[in-house]
Structures are given as structure tokens and as C-alpha cells.
Symmetry: none
Subunit: 233 residues, 2 copies
DNA sequence: AACGCATTTTCACAGGTTCTGTACACTCCA
DNA sequence: TGGAGTGTACAGAACCTGTGAAAATGCGTT
């Protein structure tokens, strides 16, 4: 996961609330009270989504929206508006400027999260093929199923995500920290050594000889690599 | 999905908005500012739906509607009108000419999508077969009936929609959040745990042994999957 | 407006599975 | 041989799901 959301909101109470719930749901959240900072930061590191209060002193959210939509690199990042109930006009204006959804204040945290997730899901790029296969293993991400030498192998969710991630970038070495970030996602506090444990369990499931792995190789001092096996000579 | 929608709308802001949201929702969208082009194009490749602005310079949407309805090949394609707020008259006229729904401007994207989907659902051809069946259960979406091992089983609306959705994508794992989005729709914000409750009730109805489901499987840490059962060996 | 019924939603708990830190054994390389 | 890096076993913690029941909601009828 590891998706970051930029929040533009000048009311400290609300922004704290929003930040808290976003983070509790596993998102990264950065809160801004000032329109110009949002865009500057976003240029360096585009977020997955903007949550913009329509009314912010010093240039309003509508203005930010307009600028984002005309911004080459940021025009595809979805935007959700936070609007006060009454301002029907603003709302419509926001939607016409290309916002993707709006939430009227006051809002329930659950609604906030539901809308955020729904918009993110809509924008999620129609990803890589659901099935990737190698010589004797097949990874079906859509079905969350793993086949090894013809047999269905059972995996836990984390095992599957880790294997899937590695197998989708064959040949590349990933550090434990990187894997924690990519697979575990949320800013959990997990020891890098846990990765070892999962690697072992995956090897037990996919490798004919877990002691001499063909696929999931250790790169000493660096991390792990999923390797496309060369035919046994 | 892969359904295309033709949009007749001369206001560039609005048409961009509409196009963007239709595409974000997975539809193909083609925008026209000019009535005659719409019909010409539609003759070559009929869309799944027309979205017509009632007021367009150079022959209005009402006129297009009339011509479409009298057009042999296109008379069955559903039509939704976009109307300005006040013009009650236009609205009535549009519906009398055979439009299937209307949306008053200004509108929320959510409303647009909801209406588009609703109309498409109404017009859905047997292209997505109304009946899907497995070894010992038959789901008849048209009749909203469920048959289990020959017996008619009664279901509530939500139970049926959930089962239908899962069964139409057999083998795929869906998270609770995804299911809420797909089955419950846009208006409600319920706990993901509610999905569990419905799954249980569906199992009680379709599974011979609800404790060991053959069809509706739990994928721990991920969600649920409707599985095509393999013959018992 | 009030009522009853069916459906939907929430909640809390129990039981089971999965996750994770730790400790220690092992391997590799200088 | 020593030290850093890696593999493994294990047990408690954390998490997830199923379940029963109650509360809330919706809906048509009286």
C-alpha cells in the first residue's frame, strides 16, 4: 500500500482528525494549512490523492484544484473536496473543475475512508497481468492462488504478497527494508528479520530443494532476489 | 466492462468533466459538440448509451433524440438527457420522446455515474447472461431467483446482489471494501464486517455444509472468493 | 401517525490462525 | 578464527473470522 495523501485544511481540529483516521487506515497523511506549500511538496513527491478544503485563507482549495489540474505531472492525481454543507455553489464549481468526489462537513470518519478508498480504487491503474508464471510455479494474484509443479499450494496473505512482489520484479535485489515497505506497507514497526522468516516459508512452498533455492535467492549483505531459473544443465 | 458512451455537449468544461468521470469509471467516452457527428459515428459503431445535452447550438438534443428513436439500428440504445435546472418543460418533452432518464445540471459525478449505470443495467442485454449456473446452484439475475439443488431458495436483495457479484467473477478474490463498493454502492457506509454477516447467510443458503463451503471461500487476510468447485474425488 | 414485519447493520466474544521478536545455530568470507 | 550476515524453532502477541443476538432501519398497512 504505502499511499500518501495530502490534506489541505486550515482548521486544526479537523485536520488532526483527518490525519488520524487516514493514518489509522494505513495511509501516509501530510497536512497543510497553506495552499502554496501543498503544490510545492507535491511536485517533489506526488501523493496518491489530494483532500482539499474548499475554503482556506490565502487562496482557496478551488484555486489549488485548478492549478493541479493544469499541472503536467499532477493532473492525474485524484482530488476530493471537503466542503461545508451549505456551499452548494462551491461544490458544483469544484466538481466542474475536475474534482473526483466531495465530502460535506461534518462527515463521519467512515465515510471519509470509504470515499478515499473508492476513489483510489477507481484510479488504480489496470495493473499488470494478474497471472505470472515461471517454469514450475504459477502465481495468480487475482485469485490469490499459487500453483507449484501443478499442485495448489496454500499460502498466508503475507507470504503471497511477498512472493508476488518479488516475482513481479524478477532479477532485482531488494533489501529487507525495501520489502517491508513494499509488502507490509503501512508504517508498521517490523524487524527486518521477519523477512527472513517469510523467505524461508516461501522457499518451503515453492522450492523443490529449499536448501538450494532456484528461485528465491539470498544476496548476502544486500537482501533477496527472485531469479528466473536457467534450465538445469 | 468496455461500454462506450457518446456525449453530446457543447460546453467544453462540462464535457471534459463528464468524459473524465465516465472514463474513470471504466467506460469509453466520446464527446461531441455537434449533433450531426454523433449520429454519423453511432451508425458506424453504436454506443451503449447516449448522453445528450438538451440545448446544443445547431439542432438541439431533443432533435437528436427524435432522430435516434426513428433510426432502425439505434432505436434501442438508451438515452439520458442533460438539462438545465429550470426547464421542466424540456424534461417532460425529453421523456415523451423516449429518453430513459434525465440529469439536471449542475450534477454530481456520483449522480451521473449512478444514473448511467442504472440505465445500462435496465437495458443490459443478455450479453451478460442473466442466468449463471454451477454444479448445484443456479442464479437467475433477471428473475432474482436462486435455485439450490433444484429447490428455490429465498434471498434478500442484498444477499442476492452479493452472491451474484461474486459468482459472476468466479475465482477472483475480493476484499470486503471492494465488495462494499461494488454491491452496496455509493450511498452507504457500512462496516466491512457486515460483509461477513452476508457471507454467512449466503452460505447457509447455498452450501450443503456451511462450515466447509465449497463455493464461497474465505481467503484469510484478503477477503472472499467464489470458487467453481472441482468434482469431489 | 402508529404499527408490525422483514431486512439490514452493528456489536462483542470466542476460537483459531497468522505474525513477529528472540535466541541460537549456522554459513560465508576476510 | 572472528565477525557479520543469514537460517530456524518457538511461543506469545496480534489479528482475523464466524457467530449469535440485539439494535436500527425501512416499508407497507392499518
Amino acid at each position: 500500500m504505502n499511499q500518501t495523501i495530502f490534506v489541505l485544511e486550515d482548521d486544526a481540529d479537523i485536520s488532526r482528525l483527518v490525519q488520524h483516521h487516514l493514518e489509522a487506515a494505513g495511509f501516509g497523511a501530510r497536512v497543510y494549512a497553506n495552499p502554496s506549500n501543498v503544490i510545492a511538496d507535491a511536485e517533489r513527491q506526488p501523493p496518491s490523492l489530494f483532500l482539499l478544503d474548499i475554503m482556506v485563507p490565502g487562496g482557496d482549495g478551488l484555486d489549488v484544484c485548478r492549478r493541479l489540474r493544469n499541472h503536467a505531472a499532477l493532473s492525474t492525481v485524484p482530488i476530493i473536496f471537503l466542503t461545508a454543507r451549505a456551499s452548494e455553489n462551491d461544490r458544483v464549481l469544484g466538481l466542474e473543475l475536475g474534482a473526483d468526489d466531495y465530502i460535506t462537513k461534518p462527515f463521519a470518519p467512515r465515510e471519509l475512508l470509504a470515499r478515499v478508498k473508492a476513489v483510489l480504487r477507481r484510479f488504480e491503474r489496470p495493473s499488470t497481468p494478474s497471472i505470472i508464471s515461471f517454469e514450475d510455479i504459477v502465481i495468480d494474484a487475482g485469485a490469490m492462488q499459487l500453483k507449484v509443479r501443478g499442485e495448489l499450494a496454500t499460502t498466508t496473505a503475507t507470504e503471497f504478497r511477498l512472493l508476488d512482489y518479488l516475482a513481479r520484479h524478477p532479477g532485482r535485489v531488494f533489501s529487507r527494508d525495501h520489502l517491508l515497505d513494499a509488502v507490509w506497507g503501512d508504517a508498521r514497526f517490523v524487524t527486518p528479520r521477519s523477512v527472513d522468516v517469510y523467505v524461508r516459508r516461501i522457499r518451503e512452498k515453492i522450492e523443490a530443494d529449499p536448501e538450494n533455492p532456484r528461485y528465491l535467492k539470498t544476496v548476502r549483505g544486500a537482501g533477496y532476489r527472485f531469479e528466473i531459473p536457467r534450465p538445469v544443465q
